[in-house]
Amino acid sequence: MKDYIYEVARIRVMENSLLTKADLDQLLAAPDHEAALAYLADKGWGGGAGVTDAETMLKAEEDATWALMTELLGEGRELDILRLTRDYHNLKAAIKDIYASSGLAPERLYLEGGTVPAEEIRQAVAEENFGRLPEAMQEAAVQAQQVLSRTGDGQLCDSIIDKAALDALTAAAEDAPDPVLAAYAATTVVNADIRIALRAAAAGKNAAEIAAQLAEAPDLNRSALAEAAVGGKSSVAEYLKGTPYSALADSLSRSMSAFECACDDLMIDRILPQKSEALSLGPLAAYVIARETEIKSVRLLLTGLQNGLPREQIRESLRQCYG
């Protein structure tokens, strides 16, 4: 079995730069958005001083994380599962962009860092040459494009691609090279399934129709979840209490953003044991997940500060720290 001794040792050093709860408290105490940006720049975010735009800073941090992984793993595709959702996001963007001829700049539509370059996906869709896409994507791409051009229903197009993304995650989890990656896929699918089920129930769909929209998730029964969704959030919460995702049940009764936050916190809980793992791929995957989660927290925090939201409301949306 391959070990990752050098890579994990480097990651241990990099973990020292992860934001801690104290850092988030400092950011929350910042008088305004600019002061928070300055604090982050002092911590080395966005390449240091001089960055005044939050999105530029956050994108630089995302890019830096993946640049480090590329440096450590070379052409290795061990962490591809963490990038799959970007591919499907880009597929959605490409289909809608070409259908609507939006003319928007690619950097506003597409995410970098997927397993397939965003430009390649755009070209495949533009030329209707879907054979250029990864096999798992092809059928959903054809179907979504046909649905969009026939009905103009962007939401239906999204749901086809979202379902394909979740199926791809579930399939990838079966061959995941590390349990952390399988846990990431499972948590992502569960999060999405619950949101899809509640949304479909709110739209008046019956249990069978809801179940058909859900992806297969380990430890969750699609039919049972769909049945529960028909009964509303409280019955979904009740159902979750009997699954390994009981930690998410309480958050559902508060709000969907609290639920999202609880999903991310659950993921962080699941990667915490990687702090004592010395040889495997797990700490690398955990670091990427931790970085993405902290970037999400910082994005929420900066947006909250910019919009003048109460500090307590911002604090509630912040995710647990791995650092």
Binding site: Y6, V8, A9, R10, V13, N16, S276, A278
Partner: protein, 156 residues
Amino acid sequence: MLNENLGIVYALLGAALAAFLAGSGSAIGVGMGGRAAAGVLTEKPELFAKVLILQLLPGTQGIYGLLVAFVVLGKIGILGGTAPTADQGLLFLAACLPIGVAGLISAIHQGKTSVASIQLLAKRPDSFGRAMLLPAMVETYAILALLVSLLTVTRL
């Protein structure tokens, strides 16, 4: 001819196993430590001296194996002493096994513990004392094996 030299064949096999097994374990352990050290030094070159010590800890088993092998060679007519009988040769072989086998296993596990300690140092550079103590604990069992092998070989 072979029967006459059977004693020395057994004894040499013992010496070879002591040096080869313990040395191989050390090579694996030090190699693992070296990779972890390189990872830390890429980001924190100032920790060189500390991680070097941790990397070298699994190297001792190889030295113990070599020491036992030399003592055997000094008693069986190669570096000194007299050629052993077949029975004596088997006793030399048996005496070499503790440091050979325990050296191999303990060096590999000490290497893994050194890797973890180097990673601990990466997170907490001020924990050098504690980081060194953890892999040093594994050394105990290599030393016990060395004592058994050495005491037996010198008494033969």
